[in-house]
Symmetry: C2
Subunit: 110 residues, 2 copies
DNA sequence: TATCTGTATCGTAATATTGCAATATTAAAC
DNA sequence: GTTTAATATTGCAATATTACGATACAGATA
């Protein structure tokens, strides 16, 4: 097969998995970190920051945008990308809840 | 191609990407959430909790284990799986740092 | 209008992932 | 030792991802 059975899982599970999947590639992590480093939107020069060809970078940006991790707005003849804080807040919440639950775990098994 | 160019990125970037990738599938999210729900290791019956065949579940468990998200210990004739808190703390830290940086962003672009 | 610049899309090759049936393995129970 | 029960591994088909050259497109500038 190769096709994920998304319809067998809850909307929340799929939502988190989608965000995680989009971050499951070092190039996309590098893009996010670059956006953080410059502390602003980026209108241009993302390609120069990555060891990948322009179409590849464009594809990664598209995936980050589809997942809702970044926003992109047309700004003159280039496009302005920046981090969408809502998605990262979701991830922060999710992992904070998990960590908290794990720490408060009563049964200390392993 | 299809092979990720991991050698072009930093160790940290690859590490986070690996963790994120392992969580980038709803079945693996469901496994983690089930481990949390029962608040203990699981020795058995993960298969019954998921809408997937036994070999498929076994494969997902293997990936979670490879990524360091769960630990598995042999316990009699079954295997005892439980959440590895260190990995989730890493993720929590990472996304907390990102969210904080994004909130303190001076340039309000988009 | 022609050209340049930055970005997206198309097409395609290489590789990875997902899922499962069949089979193997392992340790307990008999 | 044989059976049983739980999990892992193998092998394979279907699909997805990654990467990039070639090309298209849109807005700026000459």
């Amino acid at each position: 097969m190769g096709a994920t059975k998304t319809d067998h899982f809850t909307g929340k599970q799929n939502a988190i998995a989608t965000l995680a999947k989009a971050l499951g590639h070092p190039a996309r992590i590098a893009i996010i970190e670059y956006l953080l480093k410059v502390d602003a939107c980026i209108c241009g020069d993302i390609v120069n920051e990555l060891p990948l060809a322009q179409p590849t970078v464009s594809q990664h940006l598209k995936e980050l945008k589809n997942a809702g991790l970044i926003k992109g707005e047309i700004e003159g003849n280039s496009i302005c990308y920046c981090i969408d804080e809502k998605a990262f807040q979701k991830l922060q919440n999710y992992f904070t809840i998990i960590s908290t639950k794990v720490e408060n775990r009563k049964s200390n098994c392993c």
